[in-house]
C-alpha cells in the first residue's frame, strides 16, 4: 500500500470513529450535566466533601471554586514532588528541584503538561499516579465544567446561577472520564501498551550500550493523557515511545482519544442549547481549520524541504518509521489543535513550514477542536466575536443564541482575545531580551532558535504542552516564566468565560426572527473560520515571519 493510501485510510478511520461517537457520547454528556439525580458514589463523595449538591452557584462563586480547587491542586502537586524521596514508591529518585516542581505543578494543573524534565528519571510512581495522574483527570474536568457553565449561560435566562462546580466536576470524573479510562486502558493494553508496577529494566541497546527503562502503569496514564488532552507522557519520548504507542492502530486510537471529548462536546452544546445545528456549526468551523492544517502539515512534510530530506524522499528525521509522514502529521495537527501536546514525532525536526504549521495551529488559541472544554469555550468566545461583527452587518445589535452582545460582553470577549497573545508575545520578548534565556537556545543565531522559544511560550500560554526540543527549558528562567504563562493562560481566560456566562445567563432571550443572523449555516461558519484565522492569526504574523517563514522560505 502506498503511503498516501495508508494515510488517507487512517484519516478516514479517524473521522469514522469520531462520527460514530458524536451523537451518543455528546448526548450522554448533555444528560450528565442536565440530570437532577446523584448516584450513590456521588452522594457519598458530596457528604465527605461537605458539598450541597442542590446549591446553584453564581458565576463568581463558580469561578472562586475553580480557582480554589486548582490552587490546592498546585500546592499538593508541588509538595508531592518536593518530598518525593521521603515518601514511598519513589523508585529511589531524589526530591524534585523547586523551579521544576513549580513548573510541573503549574503545568499539570493547567492541563498543559509541559514537561521541562525527563519523566522516567525524575518522577517516581507515587508522583506519577497520585499527583500527575490525578491532575490529568481533574484538570481536564475543570476545563469541561467551565465550558458547561458557559453553555448554561446561553441556555438559561434571567438567572444569576450557573450550576454547581463541585457537582459538575465530580460527575465529569466519575461519569465521563473514569469509565472511558478503564475501558480504554484495556484496549490499549490489548494493543500492546505496557501496564505494570515494575522498576527499572537494564537493557542492552543495538549499539551495545546499556540503558535503564522503567516499566510502570503506562497504559492507564496513556489513556487519560490523550482523553483529557493532557499530553504529559510517561516517557520523555511521549507517544513516539513504543511502550506508549506501539503500532499504527494504537496511534489512531490515541488520536481518536484526544479528539473525542472536544469534538463531542459540540454535540453536548447543541443538545443543551436545544439547537443541535449550532453544535454542528461550531464543529464545522473547528473541523475546517483542523483539516486545513492537517493538509498543510502533511503536504510540507511529504514535500520535505531540505537536501537531506529530499534524498530520503521525505522529512523522516525525528519521526517513527512505524508511523510515517501521514500519521505523524495527523498526530501533530491533532495534538496542537487540542492543547494536548502529546507527540508521536519530534516537532523540532519537522520541516520549517511543517513545524510552523504546528506552531501556528496552537496560536489560533487551541480551538480546533481544542482542549477538553477549553476548546469549546474558546471557540464560543470567538463565535461571539464573529457574531458581533457579522450581526452588525445584518443591521441589528448583535445576538448569539438569543442573547445580546452588549458592551459588557464585548469587554470580556476583548480581554479574552487579548490575554493569550499578551502572554505569548511578552514572554517571548523577555526571553529574547535576556542573555540567560537566550543561552538555553541550542540552535543559536538563526530563525530556528527563535522558533524554539516562540514555540515554548506559545505552547505554555495556550496550555498545549508540546515542545520544540532543542531548548534547555529546565532552567530557573524557563521554569518560572513558562509556569506563570501556563497558569495565566489557563485561569485568566477561564475567569473571563465564567463572567461571560454569568452575563449571558442574566439576560432575557430575544426571539428568533427572519432578521436574526443565522449562526448555523455555512456562511457563518466561513465567517467564523475567517475570524479565527485573521483575528488570532494576524497577531502572530510578524513573529511567525521571523521564525518558521524566515527559515522555510
Amino acid at each position: 500500500m502506498s503511503d498516501t493510501a495508508a494515510g488517507l485510510l487512517q484519516v478516514g478511520l479517524l473521522v469514522l470513529l469520531l462520527a460514530a461517537a458524536y451523537r451518543p457520547f455528546g448526548g450522554y454528556m448533555a444528560r450528565v450535566y442536565s440530570s437532577e439525580k446523584d448516584n450513590r458514589v456521588e452522594k457519598v463523595t458530596y457528604k465527605l466533601l461537605g458539598v450541597d449538591s442542590k446549591a446553584d452557584q453564581t458565576w463568581a462563586v463558580y469561578a472562586r471554586s475553580v480557582l480554589a480547587f486548582s490552587a490546592v491542586g498546585v500546592i499538593l502537586l508541588y509538595l508531592l514532588q518536593r518530598f518525593q524521596a521521603q515518601l514511598p514508591l519513589s523508585l529511589g529518585l531524589p526530591n524534585v528541584e523547586q523551579g521544576s516542581a513549580f513548573n510541573t505543578a503549574a503545568s499539570f494543573v493547567s492541563n498543559t503538561n509541559w514537561q521541562g524534565y525527563v519523566p522516567e528519571v525524575t518522577m517516581g510512581h507515587l508522583v506519577q499516579f497520585a499527583g500527575l495522574a490525578v491532575q490529568n483527570f481533574v484538570s481536564a474536568a475543570v476545563g469541561i465544567v467551565v465550558a458547561i457553565a458557559l453553555i448554561r449561560g446561553f441556555s438559561r435566562s434571567k438567572t444569576d446561577r450557573l450550576g454547581n462546580f463541585w457537582v459538575d466536576l465530580i460527575r465529569t470524573v466519575l461519569r465521563v472520564l473514569l469509565p472511558i479510562a478503564v475501558v480504554g486502558t484495556l484496549v490499549l493494553v490489548a494493543m500492546g501498551v505496557v501496564q505494570n508496577f515494575s522498576g527499572m529494566h537494564e537493557v542492552t541497546t543495538v549499539a551495545g550500550q546499556t540503558q535503564n527503562i522503567p516499566g510502570g502503569p503506562v497504559a492507564s496514564q496513556e489513556i487519560i493523557k490523550e482523553l483529557g488532552t493532557n499530553g504529559g507522557g510517561f516517557y520523555n519520548a511521549n507517544s513516539a515511545h513504543p511502550f506508549e504507542n506501539p503500532n499504527p492502530l494504537s496511534d489512531i486510537f490515541e488520536i481518536f482519544l484526544l479528539l473525542v471529548i472536544p469534538v463531542c462536546l459540540t454535540r453536548t452544546f447543541g443538545v443543551m442549547v436545544k439547537d443541535k445545528k449550532q453544535g454542528y456549526a461550531i464543529l464545522g468551523a473547528m473541523g475546517t481549520i483542523w483539516a486545513l492544517f492537517t493538509f498543510s502539515a502533511t503536504f510540507f512534510e511529504n514535500q520535505g524541504a531540505g537536501t537531506a530530506a529530499r534524498a530520503a524522499g521525505a522529512a523522516m528525521e525525528g519521526k517513527e518509521t512505524r508511523f510515517g509522514e501521514w500519521a505523524s502529521a495527523l498526530f501533530a495537527t491533532s495534538t496542537t489543535g487540542t492543547s494536548t501536546g502529546a507527540v508521536n514525532s519530534m516537532h523540532d525536526s519537522y520541516t520549517a513550514l511543517g513545524g510552523g504549521t504546528a506552531l501556528f495551529h496552537m496560536m489560533l488559541g487551541e480551538v480546533t477542536p481544542g482542549g477538553t472544554g477549553s476548546g469549546l469555550y474558546g471557540m464560543l468566545v470567538l463565535a461571539v466575536l464573529a457574531v458581533f461583527v457579522a450581526g452588525l452587518m445584518v443591521g441589528r445589535t448583535p445576538e448569539y443564541l438569543r442573547k445580546k452582545i452588549t458592551a459588557r460582553e464585548m469587554k470580556l470577549v476583548s480581554l479574552y482575545i487579548l490575554t493569550t497573545p499578551a502572554i505569548v508575545l511578552i514572554g517571548t520578548a523577555i526571553a529574547m531580551g535576556l542573555e540567560t534565556a537566550r543561552a538555553s537556545i541550542l540552535n543559536t543565531g538563526g530563525p530556528h532558535g527563535f522558533s524554539e522559544v516562540l514555540y515554548a511560550f506559545t505552547s505554555a500560554g495556550n496550555n498545549n504542552g508540546s515542545a520544540f526540543a532543542g531548548i534547555s527549558a529546565n532552567t530557573l528562567f524557563y521554569n518560572t516564566a513558562l509556569g506563570l504563562a501556563m497558569l495565566l493562560g489557563r485561569f485568566v481566560p477561564m475567569m473571563l468565560v465564567l463572567a461571560l456566562a454569568g452575563s449571558f445567563a442574566k439576560q432575557q432571550p430575544v426571539p428568533v426572527t427572519q432578521g436574526t443572523l443565522p449562526t448555523h449555516k455555512a456562511l457563518f461558519v466561513t465567517m467564523l473560520v475567517g475570524v479565527v484565522l485573521i483575528v488570532t492569526g494576524l497577531t502572530y504574523f510578524p513573529a511567525i515571519t521571523l521564525g518558521p517563514l524566515a527559515e522555510g522560505l
Binding site: 452588525l392 452587518m393 445589535t397 476583548s414 487579548l418 432575557q508 427572519q514 449555516k521 456562511l523 515571519t545
Partner: protein
C-alpha cells in the same frame, strides 16, 4: 388622528434643509479648520485608535529630527495626515448638522411675550424670561415665544421654521392638537398658550443641540464596538513592540518610525476614524427625513425592533371611509341607485359624502351636479336625531343613512322593508364595512333602492411594505378602535401580521408590555396625551409633531411631518447605521492581511532573503512598500467618508442574504482592494528619489 394628505417627506425633502445624503467634496475643505482643532489630545483621547496614531505621529516627528531622511519625513507627514483625515470625517459629519442648526437658530430670534398675569392683565416680557406654567397671548402675525399647550382658542400656525412644511396647521385648545412650538408663527386668530418648557430647554434648543451633535453620547453598540477596537489596538501594539527583541536576535534593527508605521497600518484605523462620523450621519439621515431622535440609543434600538405597532387610521388606511360599491335591491338598476345616491349626497360635505359622488362619477359616469342646477331641490341635512340626509326635489324624496333610521323612515311612509335589505346590510357589516341605505318615495311608492358600501381604503403599497418587514423579521400589529370584525377585514387586506381591535390606551400598553416580556423590541407612533405612557414604554416611541406636548415628551423621537408611516423608514435607518458600522469594521480588519504582505518582507528580506517571497505585490523597495501601506491606510479613510456619511446601501431582505452580500463586498473586498491600492501607490511613489 390627523389625515395623511401628502406623500412621505423623504421623497420630497424640503429644499432648505442641509444637502441630503449626497457628499460634497467641498465639505472636506470647509471642515479642515475644525479637523485641525480636533488634534487637541484631550479631544483625541475619546477615540483610542486614533489617539494611538496621534501619539505615534508625535513620536515619529521628534525622531525625524535626529534621523532625517526623505523617507522618514514622508512617513511623518502621512501619519499626521491619517490623524487629520480621521478628524476630517467627523468634522464633515458635524458640519452638515451645523448648517441645519443655523437655520433653526434663525427661528430662535429674540421675541417678546405677552404674559398674562393672574388678574388677566397682559405684560410684555422677553421670551427668555418665561417660566413653566406662564400663560401668554399670541395673535395673528406674532411668533409663539415658547413651547406649550394651547389652553384657549384656535389658530392656524405656520410651523415651517421647524418642519420645512409651508402649509399652515391648526392648533386648538384641548384634544390632541394643542401643542405649539416656540419659534413658530400664528397666522390667524388668537390663542392663549401655557408654557411647558424652561427657557433654554425648548424644542428648538434641543433640536439645535441634536443636529450639531453637541449632546451626542456614544450609543451602547458604539461603546461595545469601541471596546473591541481598543483591544485590537492593544493586540497589535503588543505585536509591534515585541518585534525589536525578536529582530535583534536575527541581527536586524528596526527603527522606531517604521515600527510606528507598522502599528498604524495594523490597528483598525479605518473604522476607528469613521466610527463617530457614521453615528452622526445616522442621526443626520433621520433629520433629513424630518425625524428628530432624542438619543442615538433610540436610533440603534430602531434597527432592532421586532414589533411595529401601527395605528390603523392615517398609517395603514387613508383617514376616512369611502364608498366602494353600490348594491341595488329588487329591480332597481345600479345606475338608478347611483343616481339617487349622488343626488342625496350633493349637499353632504363629509368625506364619506364626497366619496359617494366620486364613485358615482368614476364608475357610472354620472356627471357631478351642482346644487345650483336643481332650483327646486330642498336638501335635508344630516342630524344626530334623524341620522339621515337627503333631498326633496319635484315630489321625489330620497333619503340616505344608517339602516335602522332609513327602515323606520320607509315604514313611517307606508312602505315595507324587504328581507333582502337586511341580508345585504348584515353582509357588509360582517365584512367590516359600513352600509348606508338609500330609499326613495315618489307618488306614494316608498321603497329601499339599495345599499352603499362604505369601507376603509388601505393606502397603496402597504402590503408590499409589510411583506418587506416580514422578510426583515419584523411583525406588524395594527391598532384600531374598530370592532374585531372590521379590524380583521382591514388587517387581511393590508397584510399586517396581527391586529388589536377596540383598542384602549390600556390595551395598547398591555400589548407593548407583553411583547417586551418576550424579549421583543417595540416601536410605535402616537400623538395623543393618552398615548404618552405607551410611547414612553415602547423602545422606539415616535411622537407626531402635531400631537400634544405630553406625547412629545414621552416618545424618544418626534416626526415633524406627523407621518406615522415613517416609522418604517426609521427602522431602516437604524439598520443601515448598524450595517455601516459592521461592514467598515470587517473591511478595516480584512485590510491588515495585505499590509503585512507589504511591510514584513520590507522589514526583514534584507536579513532573511527568503522572505522576499512574501513580497507578492513585487513592491519596488522596502521604503516604497512601507510608505505605500501608510499612504493607502490614510487615503482609504478619505475614500470611505462618503460611504460613512451616506451609509451602506440597504435593501430590506433576510439576514442571510444581507450577510452574504456585505461579507462579499466588505470582507472579500477588504482583503483584495489593499493589494491593488498599495501596488498602485507603490508604482507612483517609486519615482521619488530616495524612495524607489
Amino acid at each position: 388622528m390627523t389625515t395623511l394628505t401628502k406623500p412621505p417627506a423623504s421623497k420630497a425633502a424640503p429644499a432648505k434643509k442641509a444637502p441630503s445624503g449626497l457628499f460634497d467634496p467641498k465639505m472636506l475643505l470647509t471642515s479642515l479648520p475644525d479637523a485641525l482643532k480636533k488634534l487637541d489630545p484631550r479631544v483625541m483621547m475619546k477615540n483610542p485608535v486614533m489617539f494611538v496614531v496621534e501619539v505615534g505621529a508625535v513620536v515619529s516627528t521628534v525622531l525625524a529630527f535626529t534621523d532625517s531622511s526623505v523617507f522618514v519625513w514622508l512617513i511623518v507627514i502621512w501619519l499626521w495626515l491619517t490623524t487629520i483625515f480621521a478628524n476630517l470625517a467627523e468634522a464633515v459629519a458635524e458640519g452638515r448638522g451645523k448648517a441645519q442648526a443655523d437655520t433653526l437658530r434663525r427661528a430662535k430670534t429674540e421675541t417678546t411675550a405677552r404674559r398674562l398675569k393672574a388678574d388677566g392683565i397682559e405684560e410684555e416680557v422677553a421670551a427668555t424670561a418665561l417660566q413653566l406654567g406662564d400663560r401668554v397671548v399670541v395673535e395673528a402675525g406674532q411668533i409663539i415665544p415658547g413651547d406649550g399647550d394651547v389652553v384657549e382658542g384656535v389658530a392656524s400656525v405656520d410651523e415651517s421654521a421647524i418642519t420645512g412644511e409651508s402649509a399652515p396647521v391648526i392648533r386648538e385648545s384641548g384634544g390632541d392638537r394643542s401643542a405649539v412650538t416656540g419659534g413658530t408663527k400664528v397666522l390667524s386668530d388668537r390663542i392663549v398658550v401655557q408654557i411647558t418648557t424652561k427657557p433654554g430647554e425648548s424644542f428648538i434648543d434641543r433640536m439645535i443641540a441634536l443636529v450639531e451633535g453637541a449632546s451626542r453620547q456614544k450609543t451602547p453598540n458604539e461603546i461595545a464596538l469601541n471596546i473591541l477596537l481598543a483591544s485590537l489596538t492593544i493586540v497589535f501594539l503588543l505585536a509591534t513592540v515585541t518585534l525589536p527583541p525578536f529582530a535583534n536576535y536575527a541581527g536586524s534593527e528596526i527603527s522606531t518610525v517604521i515600527l510606528v508605521a507598522l502599528l498604524v497600518c495594523l490597528i483598525p484605523t479605518t473604522i476607528g476614524a469613521l466610527l463617530s462620523a457614521i453615528g452622526i450621519a445616522g442621526m443626520d439621515r433621520l433629520v433629513q427625513r424630518n425625524v428628530l431622535a432624542m438619543s442615538g440609543r433610540a436610533v440603534e434600538a430602531a434597527g432592532d425592533v421586532n414589533t411595529l405597532l401601527l395605528d390603523k387610521t392615517g398609517t395603514i388606511t387613508l383617514g376616512n371611509r369611502q364608498a366602494s360599491e353600490f348594491i341595488p335591491l329588487g329591480d332597481v338598476s345600479e345606475t338608478e341607485l347611483a343616481d339617487a345616491a349622488q343626488l342625496s349626497s350633493l349637499a353632504d360635505e363629509t368625506p364619506e359624502g364626497r366619496s359617494i359622488v366620486v364613485l358615482a362619477k368614476t364608475q357610472y359616469g354620472l356627471r357631478e351636479r351642482h346644487t345650483g342646477e336643481l332650483p327646486h331641490a330642498t336638501f335635508v341635512e344630516f342630524t344626530a336625531q334623524t341620522r339621515m340626509s337627503g333631498v326633496d326635489v319635484d315630489g321625489l324624496q330620497i333619503r340616505k343613512g344608517a339602516a335602522g333610521a332609513v327602515s323606520a323612515w320607509i315604514q313611517s311612509h307606508g312602505g315595507t322593508v324587504e328581507a333582502d335589505l337586511g341580508n345585504v346590510v348584515d353582509g357588509i357589516s360582517a365584512s367590516g364595512g359600513t352600509p348606508l341605505v338609500v330609499a326613495s318615495s315618489k307618488d306614494g311608492a316608498v321603497r329601499a333602492l339599495g345599499v352603499i358600501h362604505l369601507k376603509d381604503v388601505v393606502k397603496e403599497g402597504m402590503r408590499e411594505r409589510f411583506d418587506q418587514m416580514r422578510a426583515m423579521g419584523i411583525r406588524t400589529v395594527m391598532i384600531t378602535g374598530d370592532n374585531p370584525l372590521t379590524a380583521q377585514a382591514i388587517a387581511e387586506e393590508a397584510g399586517v401580521d396581527d391586529f388589536l381591535a377596540e383598542a384602549t390606551p390600556e390595551d395598547k400598553m398591555a400589548l407593548i408590555k407583553k411583547e417586551q416580556e418576550g424579549g421583543r423590541l417595540v416601536a410605535m407612533t402616537g400623538d395623543g396625551t393618552n398615548d404618552a405612557p405607551a410611547l414612553a414604554q415602547a423602545d422606539v416611541g415616535v411622537a407626531m409633531n402635531s400631537g400634544t406636548s405630553a406625547a412629545k415628551e414621552a416618545g424618544n423621537m418626534v416626526d415633524l411631518d406627523s407621518n406615522p408611516t415613517k416609522l418604517i423608514e426609521i427602522v431602516e435607518i437604524g439598520k443601515q447605521l448598524l450595517i455601516t458600522r459592521g461592514s467598515l469594521t470587517t473591511f478595516s480588519i480584512a485590510n491588515d492581511v495585505a499590509k503585512y504582505f507589504a511591510i514584513l518582507p520590507a522589514l526583514f528580506a534584507a536579513t532573511y532573503p527568503g522572505l522576499d517571497k512574501l513580497n507578492i505585490m513585487r513592491l519596488e523597495s522596502a521604503e516604497s512598500a512601507i510608505l505605500s501601506a501608510v499612504i493607502f491606510n490614510a487615503l482609504v479613510i478619505v475614500a470611505l467618508v462618503p460611504l460613512a456619511l451616506r451609509g451602506v446601501r440597504y435593501k430590506p431582505s433576510s439576514a442571510s442574504a444581507m450577510l452574504r452580500r456585505n461579507l462579499l463586498i466588505y470582507g472579500v473586498g477588504g482583503l483584495v482592494s489593499p493589494f491593488i491600492g498599495i501596488k498602485l501607490i507603490d508604482l507612483l511613489i517609486s519615482v521619488i528619489p530616495g524612495i524607489g
